[in-house]
C-alpha cells in the first residue's frame, strides 16, 4: 500500500463560503476511490484544488511523499494528475485525435503535425486500455458517452496516472454508465489510480474500493465499500436517516383522470413514435412508465401536455376530450408537467426565481385580471409563500435561477407545478441529477400530491425509483405499452425483460 496522494488540512474558502474545511484526504496506488457528497459538499472543489485550479488557503499536498505546490493545472498534469470535468472541454468541430493532442501536438521539424505518430500513440490506448474510438470523427457527431471517453483519453495521453472523474455518470444514460464502469475497471487493472466523484450511492458502492464522504466542506469519514451499505452512506452524506422506500397506499379512488386511447404520433424525424398507446391513470395513483430511452416516452409526454400533436387517437382528462387543445388550455385544466430536462423545458434560467414561479400563470388571476398588466404585489406575496413552503434555498426571490444549484432549481419547478392544484402531474425524470436529500424531497412531495388526489405519471430511467413510488408499472417498448403490472406481482427481472421487448412474440 503506497500513498500516491496525501492532502493534509486543506482549507479552501470563497467569499462567504468555506468550501473545504481542514480536509484530510489520501489516495492509495491503484485504487478506485469514491468521493461522495451532496451538491455543494465540496467534492469538486477538493479535487480542483488537487488539480491546481483552486489554490488552498492553508494545508499541504504530498505526491509520492514529497510536498508539492500547485499553481496551475499544467503543473498537476506534469505530476501525472488528470481530470475529466463535468462539463467537457472539447472543441466540437475538431476530430477526436485533434482534440486529444490539443496543446501537446507531436510535430516533425517543429512545424508539421506528425500524423503517423499521433495514430500510433493513440492506437496503443485502444490496445492497452480497451478504449477504442474512431479517431477521425468530429466531436460534435459523438454521443455524450463517447465524448467523455475522449476526455479520458486526453488525460491519459498527457500521462495521467491519477485520474479524477467529476460526476462522470450525471450526463450518461444507464448503458453508457455501464460502459464507463467497465473502462474504469480496466484502467485500475493497468495500475491507474482513480477518483470517482459522485452523489449516487449505488454506483459508488458498485465500483469503488474505498469511499470518502464529504458533508458541508468536511470529511465525515472514509469507509471500505465492502464494509458499508446504502443506508449508512446516505446517513453519512445527509446527516440524518434517509427514506429509501415508501409504503404504498392502495388506490382509494376509481375515478379515471387520464384516459388515452389508441394514441399515435410521429417524432421530429417524421417516424411513427407512438403506435397506438392505451393508458388510464386514476386519481390518487402513481403510474410508473418504465422503458429504455427512445421508446416513445418523450413523445408520449409531449402529446399529453399538448406540445406535440397526435396523429390519431384521443386524450381525455376527466372525461373531457383534450386531444386538440393547446398547452395553455391543458395547463388551465389542471395538467402539471415536470419536464425531463429542466434547463431546456422547465426553467428560464435568466429569469428570477419569482418570474419562474409564475411561468404559465402570468396571465391568469390572481396575477393578472385583465391579461395585460401583471400585479406584482400579488406575485411577490405568492413567490415568498412558495419559497417558504417549498424551502427553496435562494438568496432572495429576485435571484436568477441559473445561479442556483440543480436541486434548488428543481424545487422551483416542483413548487410551480404543484402549486397549481393539478389533477394530473407528469413527472419526467424528476430526480435526475439530484442528490439524496433533494431526491427524497421530490419523492415526498409526489407522494403528498398523490395522497391529495392527483393522478401522477412517473417517467424515469431509474427502475428503482419507479419501483419505489408506483402503484402500477407500465412498460413502454417501441411506441407501445407492452404490459401493465402491479409491482407486488412482478419483479425487476421481468420488467427488465419487458423493457427489452422480450415477450412481444407472445402477444
Amino acid at each position: 500500500m503506497t500513498l500516491v496522494i496525501e492532502m493534509r488540512n486543506i482549507t479552501v474558502t470563497f467569499p462567504g463560503v468555506v468550501a473545504n474545511d481542514k480536509i484530510n484526504f489520501s489516495l492509495q496506488k491503484g485504487e478506485i476511490h469514491g468521493l461522495l457528497g451532496e451538491n455543494g459538499a465540496g467534492k469538486s472543489v477538493l479535487m480542483k484544488t488537487l488539480y491546481g485550479i483552486h489554490r488552498p488557503d492553508s494545508g499541504q499536498i504530498f505526491i509520492n511523499g514529497k510536498e508539492k505546490k500547485f499553481d496551475s493545472p499544467a503543473t498537476a498534469i506534469k505530476m501525472g494528475i488528470g481530470m475529466v470535468h463535468q462539463h467537457f472541454m472539447l472543441v466540437p468541430h475538431l476530430s477526436v485525435s485533434e482534440n486529444i493532442i490539443l496543446g501537446q501536438e507531436p510535430t516533425t521539424k517543429r512545424v508539421f503535425l506528425d500524423l503517423k505518430k499521433i495514430k500510433n500513440d493513440l492506437s496503443i490506448f485502444c490496445d492497452k486500455y480497451n478504449l477504442c474510438i474512431d479517431l477521425e470523427s468530429p466531436i460534435y457527431t459523438l454521443p455524450v458517452g463517447m465524448q467523455q471517453r475522449v476526455e479520458i483519453l486526453k488525460a491519459l495521453y498527457r500521462g495521467a496516472d491519477i485520474l479524477i472523474l467529476d460526476e462522470p455518470t450525471s450526463v450518461l444514460t444507464p448503458q453508457e454508465a455501464e460502459e464507463l464502469f467497465k473502462a474504469v475497471e480496466v484502467l485500475k487493472n493497468q495500475g491507474k489510480t482513480i477518483v470517482f466523484i459522485s452523489h449516487k450511492l449505488k454506483e459508488v458502492l458498485k465500483i469503488c474500493d474505498n469511499i470518502s464522504v464529504l458533508r458541508k466542506g468536511k470529511v465525515i469519514g472514509t469507509v471500505k465499500a465492502s464494509e458499508t451499505d446504502q443506508n449508512q452512506l446516505a446517513k453519512m452524506m445527509v446527516g440524518r436517516k434517509v427514506k429509501l422506500s415508501y409504503k404504498k397506499e392502495e388506490i382509494i379512488s376509481d375515478k379515471i383522470v387520464l384516459q388515452i386511447e389508441n394514441l399515435k404520433t410521429i417524432n421530429d424525424l417524421g417516424i411513427l413514435a407512438l403506435k397506438g398507446v392505451h393508458l388510464n391513470v386514476k386519481a390518487s395513483e402513481i403510474l410508473g412508465i418504465a422503458g429504455v430511452q427512445g421508446n416513445g416516452q418523450t413523445e408520449l409526454i409531449e402529446v399529453i401536455t399538448g406540445l406535440r400533436k397526435a396523429t390519431e387517437g384521443t386524450v381525455k382528462l376527466n372525461s373531457e376530450d383534450i386531444t386538440g387543445k393547446s398547452p395553455k388550455d391543458r395547463l388551465k385544466l389542471g395538467i402539471s408537467h415536470i419536464p425531463e430536462d429542466r434547463q431546456k423545458r422547465g426553467l428560464i434560467s435568466d429569469f428570477s426565481v419569482m418570474e419562474n414561479l409564475i411561468l404559465g400563470s402570468q396571465d391568469l388571476p390572481p396575477f393578472s385580471n385583465d391579461k395585460i398588466r401583471i400585479d406584482f404585489t400579488k406575485v411577490i406575496d405568492f413567490s415568498k409563500k412558495l419559497i417558504r413552503d417549498f424551502s427553496i434555498k435562494t438568496p432572495n426571490k429576485d435571484t436568477e435561477v441559473r445561479y442556483l444549484s440543480g436541486g434548488t432549481q428543481q424545487r422551483v419547478v416542483v413548487a410551480r407545478e404543484f402549486s397549481r392544484n393539478p389533477r394530473l402531474i407528469i413527472a419526467a425524470q424528476p430526480t435526475r441529477g439530484l442528490d439524496v436529500g433533494a431526491t427524497e424531497y421530490v419523492h415526498d412531495k409526489l407522494i403528498e400530491m398523490k395522497e391529495q388526489g392527483s393522478a401522477i405519471i412517473l417517467l424515469s430511467t431509474d427502475l428503482d425509483e419507479i419501483w419505489m413510488l408506483s402503484n402500477r408499472i407500465a412498460v413502454i417498448f417501441e411506441g407501445k405499452i407492452v404490459a401493465i403490472k402491479n409491482p407486488k406481482e412482478t419483479n425487476k427481472r421481468e420488467i427488465g425483460l419487458l423493457m427489452a421487448g422480450a415477450n412481444l412474440e407472445e402477444k
Partner: protein, 350 residues
C-alpha cells in the same frame, strides 16, 4: 415619482461598464488626436461647447438624438424576444413616408387629430413592414437578420421611387410636398429644429420599460427570448409572441420616422435618413439593451454629432475624427455586450 427615480437608478447602475467604455474610447480618441497633431483638450473642449454651449448646440444635440431613440427602442424590443431586427432603417423609412402622406393628404383637420393620425400611420405601416419578416420567420423559418436587412433595401428604393414619382413635389428634388400645417409637430426649442418628437420618444422609453417589465406581453416576450422551449412548455404561444414583438419593434421605428418628418423636415426628402435605423442597433447595444440606457446612448451620439461639427469648425479637426470617436465608443461598449450575449446564446444551444 420617487419610485420612478429609484427604478431608473437601479437600471442605470447596470450600465456602469458602458460608462467606463465611453471613457476608454475618449482616451484612445485622444491618442488618435495627438498622433494627428491636434490637442485633445482643445478638440474635446470644442466638442462639449458645441454640444452644450448654447441653445443651438443643445437643440442640435437633441435633434440628432431623437430619431435614434426610436430606432434603438425598436431594436431592443425585438431583441428581448431573441430576434435581431436589423431592419429598423426600413421600418423607419416606411413609417416616415406613411406619416408624410397622411400629412399632405388632409387639410383642414384639427391638429389634435391630424398629428396623432399621421403618427399612428407611421406606427401602423412601420409595424406592417415588420410583419412581413415576422411571417416569413414563423411560417417558413426564414432568418430575420436576412429578411429585415433585405427589406430595408426594398424600403430605401421603394420610398425613393414614391417620392420621385407618385408623391413628388414640383421641382427637381426627389421629395414630397410640404405637409399641411395642421400635421406639424411643434418645435419645442425655437429657433432650433428640435420638435415634440423628442417628448414622444421619452414617453416611449418609459412605456417600453413598463411593457417589458410589468405586463403579460413583456413577460412572455422576455420568456421567449431567453428560452423559447420553456416558454412553450409554460403555455406561451411562441409564434404569436415573436410576431408581436417584431411588429411592435417595427411600429416603434415607424413612429420615429413619422415624428422626424412631422417635426423636423416637414416633408419626405429622398435620402433624409443618414442611417438612423442602423444607429439604433449600435445605440441599443451601447445602452445595454435597456430603454433608459438606450436613451442616454442616443444622447451621446447626438453630442458626438452636433459637437463634432463645432469641433471641426473651431479646431480644424477633420469631421472624420467624430466618426472614429463614434466607432471607438461602439467598439469598446458594444463589442463586449454583444460578445457576452453571443456567448450566452451559444451556450443555450449546446
Amino acid at each position: 415619482m420617487q419610485k420612478v427615480f429609484e427604478t431608473m437608478k437601479v437600471e442605470l447602475k447596470k450600465i456602469t461598464p458602458q460608462l467606463i467604455a465611453i471613457f476608454i474610447a475618449l482616451l484612445v480618441g485622444s491618442i488618435v488626436l495627438l498622433a494627428t497633431g491636434f490637442s485633445p483638450v482643445e478638440a474635446y473642449g470644442a466638442l462639449v461647447i458645441g454640444a452644450f454651449g448654447d441653445i443651438y448646440g443643445v437643440g442640435q444635440t437633441l435633434t440628432q438624438a431623437t430619431p435614434i431613440i426610436f430606432t434603438a427602442l425598436a431594436f431592443l424590443f425585438a431583441f428581448k424576444a431573441g430576434l435581431f431586427n436589423i431592419g429598423a432603417e426600413g421600418q423607419f423609412l416606411v413609417g416616415a413616408l406613411a406619416g408624410a402622406i397622411v400629412g399632405i393628404s388632409f387639410s383642414g383637420l384639427p391638429t389634435i387629430i391630424h398629428i396623432p393620425l399621421a403618427l399612428l400611420a407611421g406606427a401602423f405601416f412601420g409595424g406592417l413592414y415588420a410583419f412581413i419578416p415576422a411571417i416569413l420567420k414563423t411560417k417558413f423559418g426564414a432568418h430575420e437578420v436576412i429578411t429585415t436587412m433585405m427589406l430595408t433595401y426594398v424600403a430605401i428604393y421603394l420610398t425613393g421611387y414614391m417620392v420621385t414619382d407618385i408623391f413628388k413635389a414640383p421641382g427637381w428634388v426627389s421629395q414630397t410636398p410640404l405637409i399641411s400645417p395642421t400635421a406639424e409637430l411643434p418645435r419645442i426649442l425655437p429657433p432650433t429644429q428640435l420638435s415634440a418628437s423628442l417628448l414622444i420618444g421619452i414617453f416611449l422609453v418609459f412605456l417600453t420599460y413598463y411593457t417589458l417589465q410589468k405586463t403579460v406581453l413583456g413577460y412572455e416576450i422576455r420568456a421567449i427570448g431567453f428560452n423559447s422551449l420553456a416558454a412553450e412548455n409554460g403555455g406561451i404561444n411562441v409564434k404569436k409572441g415573436l410576431i408581436l414583438s417584431l411588429v411592435i419593434s417595427g411600429a416603434l421605428a415607424g413612429i420615429g420616422g413619422a415624428g422626424e418628418i412631422l417635426g423636423v423636415h416637414r416633408r419626405f426628402i429622398d435620402g433624409f435618413s443618414p442611417g438612423y435605423g442602423w444607429d439604433g442597433l449600435a445605440v441599443a447595444l451601447i445602452g445595454g439593451l435597456n430603454p433608459f440606457g438606450s436613451f442616454l446612448a442616443a444622447i451621446l451620439i447626438g453630442v458626438l454629432r452636433s459637437g463634432g461639427m463645432t469641433m471641426n469648425r473651431v479646431t480644424g479637426v477633420p469631421i472624420d475624427i467624430v466618426t472614429i470617436l463614434q466607432a471607438l465608443v461602439i467598439l469598446f461598449v458594444a463589442a463586449p455586450v454583444f460578445i457576452k450575449h453571443l456567448i450566452r446564446r451559444g451556450k443555450k444551444y449546446d
